[in-house]
């Protein structure tokens, strides 16, 4: 459901930005292996460029407003996908994990052919389903650190307050990683594909007569 996708984009951007305003106040996470710190989240130049420091209260106010929109949009998306049956195109199938490897090899130009696919290929099925699960994870870990007393069971589920915060942070890194790959793939997929995400054109989902439209378009392409 492309509306949800485009609504989510600015909301998630705001959530990540305001999340960083909050994170700055206690930026304790780093990548440390065998006692050596490789990377500290985040370097000072990064904070200063983005005007992050000393805005904790502002960050919290934005975060706790847009959390509602983020959650609501997610619920609408999931309900729509379930009810419309579109989840069938999205959920990984039994052979998806094996196929996804072949898709990866193909995309990296190691392998010439890719497995046949419908709307989404196996790698997409896995990635797009994972991102939805990550979204749910962000809401759950978010609630676990936002109201650890009232939602004590969520906090327990997330391995305690401290660990829930780490998870919440890690999921955000996951979004950024997803975003980078996603945008690269969109560029590779080309204009026609991108256009379809705006117009809903290749796969019509908001059109009163979707079947006819899709069929006609296919005819046209073949002609």
């Amino acid at each position: 459901m492309r509306w949800c996708h485009w609504v989510n984009f600015p909301i998630l951007t705001i959530m990540i930005w305001s999340g960083m305003l909050i994170y700055w106040a206690n930026d304790e996470y780093s990548v440390t292996l065998f006692g050596h710190t490789f990377f500290r989240f985040f370097p000072d130049w990064f904070y200063n460029t983005l005007k992050i420091p000393h805005r904790l209260s502002e960050g919290m106010a934005f975060h706790f407003l847009f959390m509602w929109f983020f959650t609501l949009n997610g619920i609408i998306y999931i309900l729509y996908t379930l009810i419309s049956g579109e989840w069938r195109e999205l959920a990984p199938k039994r052979n998806s994990f094996k196929e996804a490897w072949l898709v990866l090899l193909h995309d990296l130009h190691i392998r010439k052919t890719a497995p046949p696919q419908n709307k989404y290929n196996a790698a997409q099925r896995i990635a797009y389903t994972a991102i939805i699960l990550m979204g749910i994870g962000s809401v759950i870990t978010g609630l676990a650190i936002y109201k650890p007393v009232q939602f004590y069971y969520l906090t327990w589920l997330c391995g305690g307050y401290h660990f829930a915060r780490v998870l919440h942070f890690a999921l955000t890194l996951g979004y950024v990683f997803f975003f980078v790959i996603h945008v690269v793939q969109v560029f590779i997929a080309g204009w026609n594909n991108f256009r379809s995400v705006i117009s809903g054109f290749e796969i019509v989902n908001e059109n009163p007569k979707p079947a006819v439209q899709t069929a006609k378009k296919n005819e046209h392409e073949e002609a």
Binding site: W6, P10, I14, I22, Y23, A25, N26, E28, L56, S57, E58, M60, A61, F62, F64, L65, W68, K147, P148, V149, Q150, Y152, T155, W156, Y161, H162, R165, R195, I198, S199, G200, F201, Q213, K216, K217, E219, H220
Partner: protein, 273 residues
């Protein structure tokens, strides 16, 4: 260019009242694309303008709360209402064994209890404002004669850090019951201030009367040091650290929000966990 021409033709067609001919498939395709992209651009522009409106919205007038953008403060207050409905005194803060409590308890702030200020704990008495001009004074020894409650829990700061700490003192609800302040406790808020009025908090009554809220005089089985708010501080585990006032000077009750140091600086008034 071709597509533009086509779009133009379509627009003309659309403006005609009764198109006589069925549109060709290609025209339909282009028309739908045009509509989609226009709608997309308009909505994107709208979203951007909406964001600019929010981002540049004026700061609220300084009062009980301050320092936040007006719409965001409204959102914080509405969100408070949602979560206050969920609040239950049956939801206890998770407790830990004493062995897990930090030996070095973090000191994060000295607002209202700055070291250079003269303060003698020996002459201190807690002032409870029952009504204007009627002040109940309670000494530390009197407080210590009440049942002592201990708690080892994960103290949480708005900044994002947390630490398992061990506090002990009088349960606030025991204190209310002992001094027969029940009528005052029917009001909606408790206000607490440091003796120098430099730091002050407002707590909603359900949180104050929560069974784990303490007037604490001990940390790690020892009397509070000055930097932790000697002789008596508030420990309210259902709130962020900013509400855990050090060195309580006066306690008062009201039906409107008492002044609150950090709520005046853009933070959520409720700050409940």
């Amino acid at each position: 260019m071709k597509t533009l021409n086509q779009q133009f033709r379509q627009l003309r067609k659309m403006s005609m009242k009764k198109p006589k001919k069925e549109l060709t498939t290609e025209q339909k395709i282009n028309r739908r694309n045009f509509i989609s992209f226009t709608a997309f651009a308009v909505l994107a522009g709208g979203a951007y303008e909406g964001w600019r409106w929010l981002y540049k919205s004026p700061e609220e007038a300084a009062g009980i709360t301050g320092g936040a953008r007006k719409p965001l403060r409204r959102a914080l207050n509405k969100t408070e209402l949602v979560f206050r409905r969920l609040f239950s005194n049956n939801h206890l803060v998770k407790t830990y064994p004493k062995s897990m409590a930090a030996k070095k308890v973090r000191v994060n702030s000295d607002i209202g209890i700055e070291a250079e200020k003269k303060f003698d704990p020996a002459t201190w008495k807690l002032q409870v404002v029952k009504k204007a001009g009627d002040i109940l004074q309670v000494s530390l020894d009197e407080l210590k004669s009440l049942p002592k409650t201990e708690i080892v829990y994960d103290f949480k700061c708005v900044e994002g850090w947390d630490q398992v700490q061990h506090w002990a003192g009088v349960k606030f609800s025991d204190f209310i019951a002992h001094y027969k302040l029940d009528d005052l406790a029917k009001m909606q808020y408790v206000g607490m201030e440091t003796p120098d009025k430099g730091y002050y908090v407002g707590i909603d009554m359900p949180s104050a009367m929560h069974p784990q809220t303490l007037l604490a005089y001990e940390v790690n089985d020892k009397s509070l040091p000055l930097n932790h708010g000697a002789p008596l501080r508030l420990i309210v585990p259902v709130k962020y650290g900013i509400k855990n006032l050090k060195r309580i000077g006066t306690i008062s009750f009201s039906n409107s929000r008492p002044r609150d140091y950090w709520a005046e600086q853009g933070y959520d008034y409720y700050s409940g966990l």
